[in-house]
Symmetry: C2
Subunit: 410 residues, 2 copies
């Protein structure tokens, strides 16, 4: 998480306080205060914090990443047409509009589990088949699945789906409840093809604004598209007809060979990325947020950075080769033995957002597939891309995807 | 979590501060403080908090429940004898002694993931076969698997194992790293039969001391064996030879039929348990921590509580029918369709600790199997019991299980 996200996080936290403490008695709030050392006053419980659902953009994109994610890949049932998809999006939009504000969904009889949104967000996207078949011609655009990259070893089980729903929250109980509510409403329209669960450090375990670490132990997320960047809006938000305020979501499921990785020397591991393990600073010096110097040489005149180091290969070669990364760690017990000799698959749910994935994401992924020292220890086993419509308004009957689908208020 | 656990939690939190903030720069700690509203000062990050590993008892038993759990069931590889088991326990004890204090394990090359213990605990237990075959005769005791209960629908996949390792922490990255380290060291001695992941509300989402809710939406954990109870030590800690300071861990994997459950009226759901959904107070009146009155009648003279309500059936009929419950919620995507018509299995990892499970736990479970309104919506699909040795000392070469196994310092 970059520093400005950290700051925004704190601002929103402040703004959300007050309204959110539904259902807690004064006894709870003052509970055993006497026992605390004076310098360790606990923060107000954050379960009541809310992220806005309505707005020009969907939530869960520029939202400072929450601790937990559940990404659902769904395929529409046969026979579901544009009107059916619209009805489903209306139901799901309404559910999230409520749940994200700490209110039970309409048919939510387990409402006790709905009172703590913990910054719940939902981000909905439509796959290429939906755009080709259900979006009306005037809004239809050229939208293909991602190309195959040389290093991909894709498992169909984690492949492209018609729909994606990225749910994020700082609390796992909230996520479990939200998934139930949404899947119940989606059920007659779509079936779940896969579920990908991700996690970062728990909220509050580290100071807000600390960049996350992935399961290889690296500081991951230092250089990222930032809201302070002049080109932020242009690179993030689409202006395709029907997709205004929207973007594209790329998801790559990348397994890590941690058994081999952890047997390497520290120096080999650092040179694989080009940054230090301890604090993420470039091997050419400075601190985490300083840029690596590709021309730096050591005492013997040899380049410090390997030209195939991940950060040099991933760096934009053209100004537009940039996107917003918003990844999560994952582990999976029922693992493919080829990927997890020790029985536990571990990796990264690489989530990226871009206004034009073909121009911004594909060239970078292409370059990494051609050469990247990291490739020896990571394998992409799942891949998909979805068009993410803009957000919806609080007006009655509006829902995510209405503009793109050209369907009426419902 | 009962109130006294909440208090202890806060005390330990205070005690752990200071030493734990390894590796954070002053910049991190003061990060963007300017942006905070005055009434929302964040608590110090809790990632550095440590639970003691050494002591008379193992950690993870009376420890206030952390937000996340990973329970591993392992079977010893054939040919592993008492000395082999001792070597494994020495390695694992040393790993946890370090990791729980925020220090990398000995062969831990991903040490960056080890600096935030976030109250990491590990609780090790030995199954009946290990006690029968590897514990020396002078320490051997009568120890059988749990009997079959009429309502059980056990899946061998979640069955009794030779060893159990209950890992708990407030942070999921810490748990993922700890599992890796432990499984690598356990590998030549044992193989993983199952992994059961559990969660509660995230740390800090609710005020400390709030009783957890399970996925049926109920307040779960109100009445529990408390350290303030006169009989606490006698009911919790074993005094069997070799097992001093130890206890027994019972794990029941209980799937919930949430599809049917959520279709019931609120009143039906409340009468199933005998307590209110909103706040866990008895249906006979009072607040959460008040006892239900089994004799209370309504205006028409009818009993308020159903005699088959879960709390009445679960209540001790003899003073010793009590134990420490320490459950976690779980969900599982790769679910048995019989258990999860909507594709997601949800339930409770019911974990209980007792000095004598046959005298304390079995009669209660027996009574529930005979009659309990809850049975219509819950199904026990996994079951196991393990002897949990006392804790180990920081003395060089000591390890969990040494006394019971009668093996030397290593
Ligand atoms: C498991 C797989 C991956 C791992 C472990 C990984 C790790 C890292 C690390 C540690 C950094 C340096 C810190 C930072 O700036 O965030 C980094 C930077 C970066 N990575 Fe990756 N990465 C992975 C996959 C990818 C993929 C698939 C892409 C895009 C196709 C990508 C694009 C980038 C970019 C654009 C940067 C910033 C480069 C710069 O301008 O300095 N990474 N990655
Ligand atoms: C998914 C299965 C279960 C659910 C959803 C459940 C739920 C609950 C709830 C909501 C309460 C009332 C609040 C409280 O005091 O904690 C309770 C109490 C209790 N439950 Fe369960 N329970 C389950 C399984 C079990 C099992 C398997 C046992 C033991 C064999 C058990 C033993 C108890 C006990 C001893 C109490 C306290 C009773 C009292 O003295 O008031 N429960 N349970």
């Amino acid at each position: 998480m970059s520093s400005d996200l950290g700051r925004r996080h704190l601002l929103q936290a402040g703004a959300a306080l007050g309204g959110g403490l539904v259902g807690w008695s004064a006894r709870d709030l003052t509970h055993d205060r006497g026992a605390e050392p004076a310098d360790a006053a606990p923060a107000p419980a954050y379960g009541g914090e809310r992220e806005p659902f309505h707005g020009r953009h969907q939530s869960g994109i520029v939202t400072p990443p929450q601790a937990h994610a559940l990404v659902l890949g769904l395929d529409l049932r046969s026979g579901v047409d544009r009107a059916g998809l619209a009805r489903m999006m209306r139901l799901l939009s309404d559910d999230v509009a409520r749940l994200s504000q700490g209110r039970p969904a309409l048919a939510d009889t387990l409402g006790e589990l709905a009172v703590l949104p913990a910054r719940l967000t939902a981000t909905f996207g439509f796959g290429p088949r939906v755009v080709a078949e259900l979006v009306p011609p005037r809004h239809r655009f050229d939208f293909a699945e991602l190309p195959d990259f040389a290093t991909d070893r894709l498992r169909p089980q984690w492949g492209q789906t018609d729909l994606v729903v990225q749910l994020c929250a700082d609390d796992p109980v909230t996520l479990a409840h939200t998934r139930r509510v949404l899947l119940r409403d989606a059920r007659v329209f779509a079936r779940v093809r896969w579920t990908q669960e991700g996690f970062r450090r728990a909220r509050g375990a580290e100071p807000a604004g600390t960049t996350m670490r992935n399961l290889m132990g690296q500081v991951d997320g230092t250089v990222n598209l930032s809201e302070r960047d002049r080109d932020h809006d242009r690179l993030l938000w689409s202006d395709l007809p029907g997709l205004g305020g929207g973007t594209f979501l790329v998801l790559r499921r990348i397994a890590m060979d941690l058994v081999d990785w952890e047997s390497l020397s520290r120096s080999t591991r650092e040179h694989t990325i080009g940054r230090r393990l301890s604090d993420g600073a470039p091997l050419t010096g400075g601190a985490e947020h300083d840029a690596p110097d590709p021309h730096a040489v050591d005492d013997r005149g040899l380049p410090v950075l390997d030209r195939a180091a991940h950060v040099l290969r991933a760096q934009p070669q053209k100004p537009d080769e940039r996107f917003l990364r918003r990844p999560y760690n994952y582990t999976r017990d029922e693992a493919d033995p080829a990927l997890a000799p020790d029985g536990v698959e571990a990796g990264l749910l690489f989530v990226a957002f871009a206004a034009d994935p073909v121009a911004q994401f594909v060239p970078v992924q292409q370059r990494l597939a051609e050469q990247d020292r990291l490739n020896e220890w990571v394998t992409t086993i799942g891949s998909g891309v979805w068009a993410v419509p803009g957000g919806c308004s609080p007006e009655d009957g509006d829902y995510v995807g209405r503009e793109l689908l050209g369907t009426p208020a419902l």
